[in-house]
């Protein structure tokens, strides 16, 4: 075969592998969404938890409209962070029932597809929770967005992906540890701190209109790109860590 033929064959091979990767990702995504839809445990749990935190903060600080614009960014992301701990752990325990995880390890599909499918499913669930929460926040804190509100549509998914991507990865790491529920927050929060800072600062900047959120949005994008790549590359190592 000539050099050109070999190069073309390699490219076709790579495209084929990529196609398989995305196909498997879609299957895992669909599986997780279907499982979650049957019980809706995670979504309802997260929604209710965040609502409770919202109420508690509202009672403790009783903020005026001005003050709430300053603090709502922080409250929103902190409550979502804490709510996501249980749902992230839960997304992997569903794989442990009936020893499904062993089957996943032995399957010839790329492990990164399992990770990506699950992370995308978790992203979807968290976004659904956020959509339900938005009107509640506006009501409880009498919010009136002073900055460019459309940028929230950028910040919310970017911020959520930062939490969910690393969260799904670390939850997989914690599968066979003792004290699994304790480990996830312990290792997720330090690594996510720059992203958390970015999310909170961007949201506050948009709500108060006092500064530009662009810097923080750029930080979130860079953070997401860096850590998504690292998670995809290292998931195979974590899945077969024994």
């Amino acid at each position: 075969m000539s050099y050109l033929d070999r190069a073309l064959a390699d490219m076709r091979n790579d495209l084929h592998n990529l196609q398989i990767f995305f196909r498997d990702t879609f299957h895992h995504f669909r599986k997780d969404v279907r499982l979650e839809w049957r019980s809706r445990d995670s979504i309802v749990g997260m929604l209710f938890f965040t609502l409770l935190v919202l109420v508690i903060f509202s009672l403790s600080f009783d903020p005026t409209s001005d003050v709430s614009r300053q603090i709502v960014g922080g409250i929103l992301w902190v409550s979502l962070l804490f709510a996501s701990f249980t749902s992230l752990n839960g997304s992997w325990t569903r794989e442990q029932r009936n020893r499904v995880l062993e089957a996943q390890r032995m399957a010839p599909s790329p492990p990164a597809a399992l990770f990506l499918g699950k992370a995308l499913a978790n992203l979807l669930f968290t976004l659904i929770v956020e959509i339900f929460l938005a009107p509640l926040f506006i009501i409880f804190y009498n919010l009136h967005v002073l900055g460019q509100a459309w940028k929230l549509a950028l910040v919310m998914p970017l911020g959520t992906w930062a939490l969910v991507c690393n969260g799904t990865f670390f939850a997989a790491m914690g599968l066979r540890t003792r004290n699994r529920e304790l480990l996830l927050p312990l290792i997720l929060v330090p690594v996510s701190l720059p992203a958390l800072l970015g999310m909170m600062m961007a949201t506050t900047a948009i709500l108060t209109g006092e500064s530009s959120p662009d810097l923080w949005i750029r930080l979130l994008v860079a953070y997401n790109i860096a850590f998504t790549i690292v998670c995809l590359l290292l998931f195979d190592t974590v899945l077969s860590a024994e």
């Binding site: 540890t177 720059p194 860096a226 850590f227």
Partner: protein, 245 residues
Amino acid sequence: MQRSRIFGSIGVVWFCLTLAAIAYATRLGLFLAPVDALQGNVFRIFFYHVPHSMLSLLFPYVNFIASLCYLYWRRRDPLKALNADAVAIASAEVTVVYASICLWTGMLWGRVEWGIWWTWDPRLTSMLLLWLLYVSYLMLRKLSSTGQTHTLAAVLSVFAAIDVPIVYMSIQWWRTQHPAPVFFSSDPNAGVDKSMYPAWFWNLGAWAMWGIFLVVFRYALERRRQASEQDAALQAIEASLEMAQ
């Protein structure tokens, strides 16, 4: 046996030299360096604080490189991988020790100079996050199940190493937007008089020697533990073989 005896004697000699260096550096810092014009005697805290903070930024890289080596050798050469893992945990523990000292001495200095224990200034906050990252590394090592510990810890170390520059940049941006009292200006040697240089360099050198000693000592302890475990495992296997006969 010969090799470990040689290493042992080198270790003892290094330890004695390090103690001497620390004593000399402390004497320089406390008594011989002149009094600072602005701060008075409290600046002498810096002779301990700055070397510890500079070194606490060095050991994480040792941990990172060791973790990468572990991940590379994990399937190709397990014995070398175990070696790399021992280096990784030694440097992580020493990082936490140095970072803790950096934070604590920084707080004491701030208490005297500014009257506050803490402020979210860029350097202190970045150092706190570095400390948190490596404490979480140590917690992961403690809580994970035996077979997986090395691999999971190595993966977390990669995350932590990638995170450190991002943390630093994001905190700088945060503090540019929302300024707060700055404990430590960007150049710690700004306005340092030449007469203080001996004290700086001796302290930096002495604590670097001590850091190297700690890492190597902890590494040796870890290797001993690994050998012990392997020995115990071997004995268990031999015992089970004997029973089968």
